[in-house]
């Protein structure tokens, strides 16, 4: 039995599982495909129902992971192959080319300042900009940048065999850490158990042409709105609409965009949207006092602790108007976005000329969204592409493969408390495995 665990995915699930295992005295190899850890929770402004600042509750954990003597962090990396048996797996990790020597880099940020080339920031869902050399956010762990070949003019000139262009980062880096000759590398680690915590992504707007198909600038998804609300986001927390930067006064939230839609979207419910929509509507009202939020819904799903009371707060105290009905069409009309929906409780059609529309896009498994399959780790997936637990009821963290455990939204959409519980639960299974081998 090798007393080291591999954790795939460093969102809150992977982070929690890693900490539980590492704090119990065992080694952890934590692999994350993004340049830094934190997943989607790092993109949130506040969390429901307490309205805690997401970064504030998360950074103690991300920093702990970054500094933990028992955790080896492999970011901007992916698991390429797994072989061996439970208790003795051999894992090949592919470290993508960063073009920056992270052993030397101090994270000073000068390269990002000096780089002249910009691109839409993925972390801000395209609403903000980042440079060709970038970190995801100012609080990134590790706070070291990577160079994106699609945007970096220097790399493109190298690839084309032309005269070398730019090189500003190379020139200004005080520790000589830029390395345009760097190539991807592979690392092999031996582990006894694996925790898969790859999380979720959002269903693409292009799949919903009746809602604008992603072409209307003022129709955005909830993660993008979260970035607008965030004090560390592209607008410093001021709610401004993407098209003209004006403050939106009439804001429409469309729940179940793509979810509960077997014909056209995904058949399942994405679980968290009712709650995060109420949260976003409340936060919007706090920022734009004279604004009016509307929420179109089918059912309000607020089962967790304090959740029902939170919805009541949105409806009764904060003046959010809830309309029970699906939205059939969203289209642009001048500088307004027209929303055609219905209010089944009054039996009437509703048309709203909105300034901004936020779609609660369905949550889909991140692995499917990124098409990443790992040879040697043939995990069973359900019909919707989520990991299949060996028993959904009594063994949700166990997969079809012995020694491989599951946690978080990769199994199915879920909120943070349930994710954290599953992550610690998966850790308990790993610890059990390691300890049993002692006897």
């Amino acid at each position: 039995m090798i007393n080291r665990a591999l954790v795939i995915g460093a969102g809150i699930a992977g982070i929690q599982a890693s900490l539980d295992i590492a704090n119990s005295g065992y080694q952890v190899a934590l692999v994350e495909r993004q340049p830094s850890i934190g997943g989607h929770m790092a993109q949130l402004s506040e969390t429901f129902p307490t309205l805690d600042c997401s970064q504030c509750i998360m950074t103690p954990r991300t920093v702990e992971v970054g500094h933990h003597e028992n955790i080896k962090l492999y970011t901007y990396s992916q698991v390429a192959e797994v072989s061996g048996t439970p208790g003795d797996f051999t894992v090949k990790i592919r470290q993508k080319t960063k073009y920056v020597n992270w052993d030397n880099c101090t994270g000073c940020g000068v390269c990002q300042e000096k780089c002249p080339w910009k691109a839409p920031a993925e972390f801000d869902r395209g609403l903000g900009v980042r440079k060709a050399i970038y970190t995801l956010s100012p609080q990134a762990v590790p706070n070291k940048p990577v160079v994106n070949p699609d945007v970096c003019v220097r790399l493109q000139s190298i690839a084309k065999g032309e005269k070398l262009k730019c090189g500003a980062c190379l020139k200004f880096c005080p520790t000589n850490s830029i390395d345009f000759q760097q190539t991807e590398s592979f690392v092999e680690v031996h582990v006894g158990a694996i925790v898969v915590a790859t999380g979720f992504d959002l269903f693409p707007q292009t799949r919903l042409p009746e809602y604008g198909g992603g072409q209307i600038p003022d129709v955005i998804d909830a993660l993008a709105f979260e970035r607008l609300l965030s004090a560390s986001g592209p607008t410093g927390g001021q709610v401004k609409r993407p098209s003209d930067g004006k403050e939106p006064r009439e804001v429409v939230f469309v729940q179940c965009s793509g979810s509960r839609d077997p014909e056209h979207g995904v058949p399942y419910c994405s679980k968290i949207c009712c709650m995060y929509t109420a949260k976003q509507a409340i936060l919007y009202k706090h920022r734009v006092h004279h604004g009016q939020p509307y929420v179109f819904y089918i059912d309000i799903r607020a089962g967790g602790k304090g959740y029902e009371e939170f919805i009541n707060r949105a409806q009764q105290d904060e003046g959010v108007v809830y309309l029970r009905g699906k939205v059939s069409k969203i289209y642009r009309d001048g500088d307004k976005v027209m929303v055609w929906g219905s209010d089944t409780l009054s039996g009437r059609k509703v048309e709203i000329a909105a300034d901004l529309v936020i779609l609660s896009m369905a949550a889909v498994p991140a692995i499917s969204a990124n098409g990443h399959r790992v040879p040697g780790l043939e995990l069973a997936l359900d019909m919707d592409g989520f990991y299949q637990s060996s028993d959904a009821e009594l063994a949700p963290m166990e997969s079809n493969l012995p020694g491989v455990f599951l946690a978080g939204a990769g199994i199915g959409p879920k909120d943070i408390p349930e994710t954290v519980a599953q992550a610690s639960g998966a850790a308990a299974k790993v610890l059990g495995m390691f300890r049993q081998a002692l006897r």
């Binding site: 702990e64 679980k271 029902e308 959904a392 009821e393 850790a427």
Partner: protein
């Protein structure tokens, strides 16, 4: 003379938006004792921490103030950073200029800036006089007690025992399995729940590391994390059993809501109006499907969701989470027993958010042809051998009257009687609805605020089986973490007794709300239990001789702080 470094965080615009942090840095740099002052965007981030480390080493700092958010957020993180830089961590203090300054004075930049400056100055005065301290080491008993033998308790016990540690499992009733043993099938897994459960119960009963005590309750818990002494009493027996354990998991589950609280639904008076758990027993394959009043098999069955839940005025304000699914399951099981029967379901929202849950409810509607009516039920009464249900269908805007043979009320999952008392014995708290309070609703769902006492399952709040099992394993992980070391570390910033001044009067013992003080009769001096002391300072206030002092919160320090502020 101490060399104090002051690090002021912008926290994006959270602090810098209301406080002129650069000005504060400039001014505090001139303050006596301050050797270095700087600001940074997010001092909690990696580069921010690096700035602190570098400054400690370059300037030989022996005192640090991090002026940022509340110490509750990052004090531990910053102290670890200081330790890594070679400075004693207890020479680092946080000055709260966010929650207590910038966030509450957003409209007055000048005064907010002043207040931030004074706050930092007072903390500088404190830190100049802080003692360098070392964490205390405490012993640890690597044995766990799990209170509650339902699916949560069983799962937690198995995970802990499988890892090689002994577990005492205390169960109130005479058998293990809890409410799950009453289920005929679970949703998704029509596989009869008793089968799935029996295998686990067998494992528990035969596990070499688990000792099961039924018909028992925990009557007293003394001690502290790693060193609890739990007293257990069995029903009808005088003998008191005492166990030394290091961790406790509270997995006491839920209770059925009393039907008598729903008189408008005939609760407790109409025999054919029952709750879902009772209907579950009627649906058991081995049972004759017979209604209580006359033993006939009911053909028209009405299910009333939210019977008492989501009702702040009259029932409970919360949602019980599982009922939408339970009703869908029972409607399907009912249709299997009575192919010519008809189920009606009155609902407000359908809460079927879990994996495969929505599809499941669809099957109840399409396959079992249950008629779902969106509306609350106002009244239920007996009329001959029928039970009349008055409800509404808000989607067609009509009042509905159904002459039912049987009515199933989806009543709330309630906290069991005695939960509050048990919580008190465990030194943990319960919320307004009687459920255990977790340490943090998002990131610490299975920990209580009392170190060493963990929570799992419906005792913490209504939840379904998958979430219960996840929490139970999570609680086990916390126990395993605790047991992974041979001793525990405790914070040294606690009360201490100056023996020369102590007259053993015992006033501090009475003043301490945590039971952390005792008088040593032989030495005639008060003593402090370092694991229980929470540094509240009540003893320091009570002591007439000033013999009780909280480390790094001495009267001298406080007076110097007050000097700055007054």
């Amino acid at each position: 003379m101490r060399k104090v470094g002051v690090f002021i965080c912008h926290c994006g615009i959270n602090i810098a938006g209301s406080v002129d942090v650069e000005k504060v840095a400039e001014e505090i740099n001139r303050y006596p004792g301050v050797a270095f002052a700087t600001t940074y965007k997010y001092i909690c981030s990696d580069p921010g921490q690096q700035i602190i480390k570098n400054a400690i080493q370059e300037h030989g700092l022996d005192g640090v103030i991090v002026a940022a958010c509340s110490p509750a957020m990052h004090e531990t993180t910053f102290r670890r950073t200081a330790a890594a830089a070679g400075m004693n961590p207890y020479l680092l203090e946080c000055a709260n200029i966010r929650e207590q300054c910038s966030w509450v004075h957003q409209n007055d930049r000048a005064r907010a800036t002043d207040k931030a400056l004074y706050t930092i100055q007072s903390m500088v005065e404190k830190v100049k006089r802080n003692e360098a301290l070392d964490p205390l080491s405490l012993p640890l008993t690597k044995k766990a007690m799990v209170i509650g033998g339902g699916i949560a308790g069983i799962t937690a016990a198995l995970d802990i025992a499988d890892a090689g540690y002994p577990v005492i499992l205390v169960e109130q009733s005479d058998h293990l399995g809890g409410k799950m043993s009453n289920l005929s099938g679970t949703y998704l897994n029509f596989a009869a729940a008793p089968d799935l459960l029996t295998r686990r119960v067998d494992r528990v009963m035969n596990h070499p590391n688990i000792q099961v005590i039924t018909d028992a309750e925990v009557t007293q818990v003394d001690g502290y994390v790693g060193n609890f002494k739990a007293t257990v009493k069995r029903v009808g027996q005088d003998a008191i059993l005492s166990y030394d354990v290091g961790a406790i998991v509270a997995a006491t589950g839920y209770a059925s809501y009393p039907l008598s609280r729903l008189p408008e639904y005939g609760g407790g008076t109409i025999p054919d109006v029952m709750d879902a758990l009772t209907f579950e027993a009627m649906l058991a394959p081995s049972a004759k499907f017979a209604r209580p009043s006359d033993g006939k098999s009911p053909k028209e069955v009405v299910f009333v969701q939210c019977a008492g839940s989501r009702d702040p005025e009259h029932g409970v304000p919360y949602c019980s989470q599982v009922c939408c699914m339970v009703v869908a399951k029972q409607a399907m099981l009912f249709k299997e027993r009575m192919p010519h029967g008809q189920a009606y379901v009155f609902y407000i929202d359908i809460r079927s958010a879990g994996k495969g849950y929505d599809e499941y409810v669809q099957r109840a509607m399409t396959d079992a042809r249950a008629l779902y009516l969106r509306g609350k039920v106002s009244k239920i009464y007996q009329d001959g051998n029928k039970v009349i249900v008055w409800g509404s269908d808000t989607l067609s805007n009509r009042a509905i009257e159904i002459a039912a043979d049987l009515v199933v009320l989806a009543t709330p999952m309630a906290a069991p009687d005695g939960t509050k008392e048990l919580a008190q014995r465990l030194h943990i708290s319960t919320d307004a609805n009687g459920f255990y309070n977790e340490a943090h609703p998002k990131l610490r769902p299975v920990e209580s605020l009392t170190a060493g006492v963990f929570l799992a399952g419906a005792g913490q709040g209504p939840k379904d089986i998958p979430e219960t099992v996840a929490q139970a394993s999570a609680a086990a992980a916390k126990v395993l973490q605790l047991f992974s070391r041979d001793e525990m570390k405790a914070e040294p910033t606690i009360a201490q007794v100056i023996p020369e001044l102590c007259s053993a009067c015992g006033l501090c013992v009475k003043a301490c709300p945590y039971g952390a003080r005792q008088v040593d009769e032989i030495l005639q001096v008060a003593t402090v239990n370092p694991a229980l002391c929470q540094a509240c300072g009540a003893c320091a206030a009570a002591c007439p001789n000033k013999a009780s002092v909280v480390r790094n919160w001495t009267p001298t320090q406080i007076l110097f702080m007050a000097d700055v502020l007054v």
